[in-house]
């Protein structure tokens, strides 16, 4: 029997109260036609504001990973799905053993789920760090577990210091059917 638990939340304000140094990145214009190309990035409908820059974004991911690694006996990898690793250097927490950063973690999640490990964590971020990025400010954490018959994710993440900056995207429920949860995550994007 395997279980799948999903914590799917939306960032609604900055997760850290202290001021942060400005770290937005200027686009590297080289020719005049770059301005025409860049225009296409501007989104006419902006459902979610930018609440964090690059530094705070990576700090948040590192905090989530650290919390899960210390709270759960994760014997598989923490799979982190992020786009465009720009802005600032990736923190060491994302480069450490047991963490795999990729632009698509589903194949790895499937492989590890069938590889006999007890717990694999998948983190999918759609948090905007700049106005030219898509995203709905969602953060989804999925636990693939062979050993947890009740949801440990909710209690762990609910008590996290950064949790107050999030609101539920939907009522995540435990299921033994991984494909349904993955599909639900896809629909949210």
């Amino acid at each position: 029997m395997s279980y799948l638990y999903t914590w799917a939340q939306r960032l609604v304000h900055t997760p850290y109260p202290d001021p942060v140094e400005a770290d937005a990145v200027l686009m590297p214009y080289r020719t005049l036609t770059d301005y025409q190309a860049a225009e296409a990035f501007a989104l006419s409908a902006l459902p979610q504001p930018v609440l964090v820059g690059y530094f705070q974004y990576y700090r948040l991911l590192t905090d989530v990973i650290s919390l899960l690694q210390t709270s759960l006996a994760i014997d598989g990898p923490v799979l982190v799905e992020i786009s465009r690793p720009l802005g600032v250097a990736l923190p060491i927490g994302l480069m450490s053993e047991g963490v795999l950063v990729s632009d698509d973690t589903d194949p790895q999640a499937r492989w590890w789920s069938h590889a006999g490990v007890d717990r694999v964590v998948q983190i999918r971020s759609r948090i905007r760090r700049d106005l030219h990025e898509f995203g709905d400010n969602s953060l989804t954490v999925v636990l693939h577990s062979r050993v947890d018959a009740s949801d440990p994710l909710h209690d762990i993440l609910r008590r996290a210091p950064f949790a107050c900056a999030f609101r539920p995207l939907h009522h995540a429920a435990a299921t033994t059917e991984p494909s349904a949860a993955i599909h639900a995550m896809e629909c949210m994007q």
Binding site: H13, V25, A42, L43, L46
Partner: protein
């Protein structure tokens, strides 16, 4: 109906945002202690609230003057709320905003060169035309499939017979007609006029300025082929406009009566950003000269030129708030403190406190309020190769 008039205009309504929410919460010692100085600290939430409140108070569309604060991160945090667009004065500013802001972007510079004009054209900007020559240059551009919009910039003194102070921006009515005729033979759509009476002129000239623009519009419309559907009255609003809501209410009524047939815009920079930023600098040395205590700081006019107050007739220096981790040694009599910056320029005096209880200590942090607009962007940075101020943002 044209695209210009299709943009929703804010219904006239009283400002519903509390006055206190339009100012930054005071900086605490704990907050300041974590910042490397010299530094600016900005509050994006205050920027957004001030924009929304001013838009409500004016009852018109409101364009953000990017030159007042060109920090990229502030655009990133606040850009979604700048629904009526941004005014840009250089290709550098255009480079920050392009790709980030889908709202209208107005480019406005009397000396716009070919590269700036081309970049603005191909990235979909609107033009504010300053002269006949500029109209001719824009008309000569290959616009491809685009139909760029343009406003004719009128000179406020010229259309009011000198009722407001003269400056070198814009055109007289005859020149505006000539510019419109040139643009009529191109892909450019002339959609209206722009006229700005100058910084901080709103309280004194706002109503009369609007009347002069109305008359100019009525003179121009029969003479130009294009329907003039849009009027940009500029801004000139003071930083403390939220202390003058009664006058704004009267102004709004005048505007709604004068311009019921056209779409009205205003522009604002210091009115939006001014109270959304503070400047912080640490005291690095103290001494006494005659009857003055001198506090030498790690930041000054090289990071915040306006604090030196060199441009007015009177040099009126601000008194900073002092954050100290050590209890001040109380003086038996009031003391005068002069806060000086980090350059060897004798004009680098950035603050003054009369009748203070105690002299500052080394390590104290000076907080200068109301430094969110122009203080950073209007600072010459190369003298002595001093370090630039860092910029921090509060959480949103």
């Amino acid at each position: 109906m044209s695209e210009v008039l299709a943009v929703p205009v804010v219904p006239a309504s009283p400002v519903k945002i509390a006055h206190a929410a339009l100012r930054m919460q005071p900086v605490t010692l704990q907050e300041a202690a974590g910042l490397e100085t010299p530094a600016y600290l900005f509050d994006p939430a205050v920027v957004i609230r001030r924009f929304e409140a001013l838009r409500q108070a004016l009852g018109t569309r409101l364009v953000v003057s990017f030159k007042a604060n060109n920090l990229v991160d502030l655009v990133v945090r606040c850009g979604h709320s700048f629904v009526d667009g941004i005014e840009l004065a250089s290709i550098g500013e255009l480079g920050v905003v392009t790709g980030r802001i889908a709202q209208r972007r107005y480019v406005n510079n009397p000396s716009m060169d070919a590269a700036f004009m081309r970049a603005a054209l191909i990235s979909g900007c609107d033009f504010i035309i300053d002269s006949v020559a500029q109209a001719r240059a824009l008309a000569a551009q290959d616009a491809g499939a685009r139909s760029p919009r343009a406003l004719l910039r009128l000179n406020a003194a010229a259309i009011s017979n000198g009722a407001v102070g003269a400056d070198h921006f814009g055109m007289g009515e005859a020149q505006a007609v000539e510019a419109a005729a040139i643009l009529a033979d191109s892909a450019v759509q002339v959609t209206g006029v722009h006229c700005f009476a100058g910084s901080n002129t709103f309280l004194r000239y706002g109503v009369s300025h609007a009347g002069h623009v109305r008359r100019a519009l009525d003179h121009l419309q029969p003479a130009v082929a294009q329907p003039l559907e849009e009027v940009n009255l500029g801004g000139g609003l003071p930083m403390n406009w939220d202390d003058e809501l009664g006058q704004l209410e009267s102004y709004r009524k005048v505007i709604s009566e004068l311009f019921s047939d056209v779409s009205v815009l205003h522009e604002a920079g210091r009115a939006i950003f001014g109270h959304a930023g503070v400047f912080l600098t640490r005291v690095v040395a103290v001494k006494t000269l005659m009857d003055r205590h001198i506090a030498a700081c790690d930041g000054g006019m090289a990071q915040n030129f306006l604090l030196a107050s060199t441009e007015g007739i009177l040099r009126l220096h601000a008194a900073p708030l002092l954050l100290s981790s050590t209890p001040p040694a109380a003086s038996t009599h009031p003391v005068t403190i002069q806060y000086v910056g980090s350059s060897c320029n004798r004009q680098d005096v950035i603050g003054h406190a009369q009748d203070a209880c105690a002299a500052p200590n080394v390590g104290d942090i000076c907080v200068f309020e109301g430094c969110g607009a122009y203080n950073s962007s209007y600072t010459v940075r190369d003298f002595l190769m001093l370090p630039a101020a860092r910029s921090y943002l509060r959480a949103v």
